[in-house]
Symmetry: C2
C-alpha cells in the first residue's frame, strides 16, 4: 500500500491553480530569505538553500497544516548561530557538520516528544514571555546585521550591548559603498512593503500580479544589488563583501556526525531550539487554520517538523521550522494544500541546480537588509503595553525575559522567562483569594462582604475559597481561618463554600483534617457546602467525611446557612452540642 497524506487523497483539480501561484511566490521570497538566514547563522548560504528543499517535501507528507511554509527561519538561525559559536570551531566544514548534527538532534527530539506525548510542554511558555523573547531576539538579529550593512568587521556571538559598543566606535571606518548598497536595499524593500502595495491596490492591478510584484521585493533587491556590484566593480575597487561562489547542484545525502561528545554539548540548546521551533510553527499553523475552520493536530505537527529536521540533517541543511512571514505569503497567495510547498521546494532545487553562479556578486549588505526588514515587525511593544495595564506581574516577566536575552543570551533569557512565569503563577495560587460572604437580602445568593451589601450572622463564619486546595496554599487557608476565628470569639460555626474547588490533594486533605481538629478543640463546628461532584467522589473514600459528619455537608450555601441558624437558635440542641 502506498502512503498518501490526507490532503492528497482529497485533492481537487481546482486547488491546483492557487497552489502553483503560492508555490512560485513563496519560492521568490524563500531563495533570498534562506540565503540571508544562512548568513545570520554564520553558515555558508548553500546550507540554508539545502534546508529549503527536502524538508519542505517531508513536512508536506507528515505535517498537519495545509499552508505552513517550513524552512530556515530567523529565530532558529540566530539560536543555531549562537550554539555553533559556543563550540569554538574555526573550520567551516566542521561547523557545517555540527549544524547537520543539531538538525538531527532537533528532529529526534521532536519525534520523541511526539512519542512521549509531551507536545503540551510548550503550554508552559506564557505569551508575555514569548513576546519578550521574540522582541529581544529581533533586536539582536537586527543588530547582528548592522556590520554587514556598514561593511564593518565585528566578532559574532557577542551580547548585544557589546555589539552596539563595537558598532559605535568603529562607525567612522564604515565602508561607504557597502553602506550605500545596504541603505539602498533597505529603502527599496520598504518601498515594496508599503508605498508599492498601496499603489498597486489603487491601480486595481489583478490580484495575481499584485501579489507577485509586492512580494518580489527581496528578489528585486538581490538582482539590483548584484548588478550594482558587478557593473560598478564594487568588489575589487571598494572592497564590498559578497557571497562568493556557491557550489552548484542539488544537495547530496549524507550521514550526520553523531559523536557522543558533540551530542552532549549540543543537547541543552537543541532542546530549547526544538521547543521554540515547535512553538512558533504551531502558533502560526493554528492561527491560519482557524481562519479556514481547519484543524491543527499538535501531534502531527511534531511528526511533520521532526521529519523535516531529519530531512534537513541528512541533506546537508540546518534546523528548520515554520516561518511566520513566508507562511502568511503562502496563505494570502491562495495556497490550498502542501502541494504549494512542494512546488516551492522544486523551484529552490532548480535554483540550486542552475542559478547559483549568478549569486557570486550578491553583496552581503543586501541580504542583511532583507533580514532586518523581516525581523523588525517582530519587535512587539503592544503586548508589553497591554500586559502593563492589565497585569503587572506578566509585564514584569516579559521585561526580565527581554533584558536577559539582550544582556546575557537567548537561552538564559527563555529559561529565566519560563522559571519566572511558573514561579509567579505558583506564588499567586499559593495565596488564594478567600472571601467572607454574607446573604444578599431577600435572595438565596451569598456574596463577598467587602464588595456587596450583605447580611451576616455573628455566630457563623461563611468563607468562599477561590482556588483549588493543594500543598502550596493549605497553610494560607489554615492561617486565614484560625486568624478569623481568633478575632471573632462569637463564632460557633465555620462554613467552607467549595464552589471554586475542583481538586483537593493529599496535603490539603490532611490540612482540612487539621482545621477540623483545631476548630473542634476551640468548640467550633466545621461545615462544607457546594462540593463539586468529582471532589465529593474522592472525599467519600476518606476518613475525613466520617470525622466531619455527613450531616455537616450541604448542597448549597443557602441550605447550610438556614440549618445552621436553626441549630443556633435551638437552645437545647446547642447546649447538648457544647
Amino acid at each position: 500500500m502506498i502512503f498518501l497524506p490526507n490532503w492528497l487523497k482529497d485533492y481537487k483539480k481546482n486547488q491546483l491553480n492557487g497552489d502553483i501561484t503560492a508555490g512560485i511566490i513563496v519560492a521568490v521570497v524563500l531563495v533570498p530569505q534562506a540565503m540571508a538566514y544562512g548568513m545570520l547563522a554564520g553558515l555558508p548560504v548553500e546550507v540554508a538553500l539545502y534546508s529549503s528543499t527536502l524538508p519542505l517535501i517531508l513536512y508536506a507528507a507528515f505535517g498537519s497544516s495545509r499552508t505552513l511554509a517550513v524552512g530556515p527561519v530567523g529565530l532558529m538561525s540566530l539560536m543555531t548561530g549562537a550554539t555553533l559559536i559556543e563550540l569554538n570551531i574555526n573550520n567551516v566544514n566542521q561547523m557545517v557538520s555540527a549544524a547537520h548534527t543539531l538538525a538531527f538532534l532537533i528532529g529526534i527530539l521532536l519525534l520523541s516528544m511526539r512519542v512521549a506525548k509531551l507536545g503540551a510542554v510548550i503550554n508552559f511558555l506564557s505569551h508575555p514571555v514569548i513576546s519578550g523573547f521574540v522582541s529581544a531576539s529581533a533586536i539582536i538579529i537586527a543588530l547582528s546585521q548592522a556590520k554587514h550593512l556598514l561593511g564593518l568587521e565585528i566578532p559574532r556571538g557577542l551580547p548585544s550591548y557589546q555589539t552596539l559598543y563595537h558598532l559605535t566606535i568603529k562607525l567612522p571606518d564604515a565602508n561607504l559603498a557597502t553602506t550605500a548598497l545596504g541603505v539602498g536595499s533597505l529603502m527599496l524593500l520598504w518601498c515594496f512593503k508599503n508605498p508599492l502595495s498601496s499603489l498597486l491596490n489603487k491601480k486595481r492591478v489583478s490580484d495575481y500580479i499584485a501579489q507577485f510584484i509586492s512580494k518580489s521585493g527581496p528578489l528585486v533587491v538581490v538582482i539590483f544589488s548584484t548588478l550594482c556590484v558587478y557593473c560598478l566593480n564594487l568588489n575589487s575597487q571598494h572592497n564590498v563583501s559578497m557571497i562568493g561562489s556557491i557550489p552548484s547542484g542539488l544537495p547530496t545525502l549524507l550521514i550526520p556526525n553523531v559523536d557522543s561528545e558533540l551530542i552532549k554539548t549540543l543537547l541543552p540548546n537543541a532542546i530549547l531550539i526544538a521547543l521554540i521551533g515547535y512553538l512558533e510553527s504551531v502558533s502560526i499553523a493554528k492561527s491560519m487554520a482557524s481562519q479556514k475552520r481547519q484543524k491543527i493536530d499538535s501531534n502531527k505537527e511534531l511528526t511533520g517538523l521532526g521529519a523535516a529536521n531529519l530531512a534537513s540533517a541528512f541533506s546537508g541543511g540546518y534546523p528548520v521550522a515554520g516561518g511566520f512571514g513566508r507562511s502568511m505569503v503562502n496563505f494570502s497567495a491562495g495556497a490550498n494544500s502542501p502541494l504549494a510547498s512542494i512546488f516551492s521546494a522544486c523551484l529552490v532545487a532548480l535554483t540550486l541546480a542552475t542559478l547559483t553562479p549568478l549569486f557570486f556578486f550578491l553583496p552581503k549588505a543586501a541580504l542583511a537588509a532583507i533580514i532586518v526588514l523581516a525581523v523588525l515587525p517582530l519587535i512587539d511593544f503592544h503586548t508589553f503595553k497591554h500586559a502593563w495595564s492589565y497585569d503587572r506581574t506578566d509585564a514584569f516577566s516579559m521585561l526580565i525575559t527581554f533584558f536577559t536575552v539582550l544582556i546575557v543570551d537567548v537561552e538564559s533569557g527563555i529559561l529565566a522567562g519560563i522559571i519566572l512565569s511558573i514561579g509567579l503563577y505558583l506564588h499567586r495560587s499559593s495565596q488564594p483569594h478567600i472571601a467572607v460572604v454574607g446573604q444578599v437580602e431577600n435572595t438565596e445568593h451569598y456574596r463577598n462582604i467587602h464588595r456587596h451589601k450583605v447580611k451576616t450572622d455573628k455566630a457563623i463564619l461563611a468563607l468562599r475559597v477561590d482556588e483549588n486546595l493543594y500543598f502550596a496554599n493549605t497553610n494560607h487557608l489554615e492561617d486565614t481561618i484560625m486568624e478569623l476565628v481568633a478575632d471573632n470569639p462569637s463564632i460557633n460555626h465555620v462554613l467552607l463554600i467549595c464552589s471554586s474547588i475542583s481538586f483537593i490533594d493529599t496535603s490539603a486533605l490532611e490540612s482540612l483534617d487539621d482545621i477540623l481538629y483545631r476548630l473542634e478543640k476551640a468548640g467550633i463546628q466545621l461545615h462544607l457546602a457546594e462540593i463539586k461532584g468529582p471532589v465529593m467522589d474522592k472525599l467519600r473514600k476518606t476518613a475525613f467525611i466520617e470525622k466531619i459528619g455527613e450531616t455537616n455537608i450541604f448542597l448549597s450555601t443557602h441550605q447550610a446557612m438556614e440549618s445552621l441558624k436553626k441549630l443556633d437558635n435551638a437552645p437545647l440542641k446547642k447546649d447538648a452540642r457544647l
Copy 2:
C-alpha cells in the same frame, strides 16, 4: 530601654513551677540525645552539647513558640554529616570548623528569608513529599547506627544499600560485647517507652514523678552502659568503642571561618538544611500552639531559628532546629514559657562544666540505641497508604522522594520531591476540568451533563471551566471549545460560566480574544456569565470587554440561558445578527 520578649513581660509566678519541671526533664533527655546526634553528624560529642546551650537562650529571646525545644536534631545532624563528608576533610578540627561555618550560613539564610519575607517558600513542600523524605531519612539514620550497635567498621556517607551490603558481609565480625550493650540498650529504652509508662499509669504514681521516670530512659541507658564498660573493663578486654575524653568547660566564643571557597561549596546544602530545619520547627510549633490557642508567627520563627543558629556558630556548635521528641516532652511536662528552655540550657552548661569526665566510658553503642529509638517512629507508612487510596499522583511523588533519598542521597531526594510535586500540580492545572452543563429541570441550577439529568438547548453550548485561566491551560480551553463547536454544527452561542475563575492572566486574556475572534468567524457568539468581582474589575480595563459587548456578559447562568433562548427564538433578531 532593655529588650524584653513578650512572654517575659507577662510572666506570672504560677508558671514557674511548670517551667522548672519541664526544664529539668528536657535536660535529662537532651544531654544523651545531643551526644547521640553529634555522633550521627560525625562530630565530636561536645560540639552537639555546645549547640544545646546558647542557641536555646537565643531562641527563647527571639522565637515565637513558647514550648519549642531547640537544639541538635536527627534530620539536620544527618544532613550536616552528609555535607561535611562531601568536603573530603580528614582533620577533625577542620571538620568542626566547617560545621560552625554551616551553622553560620544557615543562620544568615534564615534571617535573610525573614528580611525577604520568603518564609512561605516551605509551602511548596507537599506533605507526601515531606513524609517520604522523613521516612527515608529515618531509615538511613537507623542504618547508619547499625555499625555502632554491632561494633563494625563501615565507612560513613555511603548510600543506604551499600551500607546494608557492608553490614551483611561484615556481620560475622560483629563485636559480641558491643552487640550485647547495643541490644541491651535498645531493650531498656523500649521498656521505658512502653511497659514502664503503662505500669506507672496503673500504679497511680504522681504525674511529676511518672513524667520524670518515663522520660529518663536515655539517661538510665547512658549511666547503666557506662557502668558496664567501666566495671567489666569492656574497653580494653573486648575492644568496645567509647566516647573517650570530652573537653571540660563551657563553650568559648569564636569567629566562624568565612572562607569564600568553603561558603560556595556549603551553600547549596545549607539552603536545603535551612529549609528543612525551618519546616520541621514551624510544623512542631504550630501543632503545639493550636492546642493552647496560641499563635505562631512564621516570621518570628525565622528570626528565632536564625539567631539560634548564629549563636551555635559563634559558640562552637553545629546547625540546630526545633526537635519533635524533645518539644513534646517539654510540652507535656508542663512548660509554660521559653524559661523552661533556659533552664535546660543552664543544666546542659552545668553538665559541660562538671560532668564530662563521667562520659569517658560511655559506649557508642548506647548512643546509637538512643538514636535508633528516636527515629524509628518517624517511618510513616500511614501517609503512604492514605495517599495511595486518595490520590495516586501524591503517592507517586512520595515513593520517588523516598527511593531517591534511599538510593541517591538526601539532597537529591528532597529536590526530586519538590520538582515532582510542582510539576504534577502544573500538569494538573494545565488540563482543567471543563464541564458542559445543562439545567436541572424546574430549578435555576445548572450542572454537568455527564453527572446529572439535565436539559440542554442544542443551539447553546454552556461550559463551566473549573480552574483559573493562565498561560498553561489556555490552549486546552481553546482546543476544547473549538472541538465541541466543530462537532456540533447546530451551536449558535457559547456561554462560558466563570464561577470558578478567580484570575485570568495576560496570556489567557489574549486567548479569550482569540476564541472570540475564531467563534465570530464561524458565526457563533461568545457570552460570559458569573464573572467574579475582582476578575471583572480587571477585565473592565481591557478592550476585550468592548469586543465581546457588555450585553453578552451575564450575572447568572440562568439569566444568560433565558436571554439566549429568547434571542434564538426571535427569528428577526437572529437574521439581523447573522
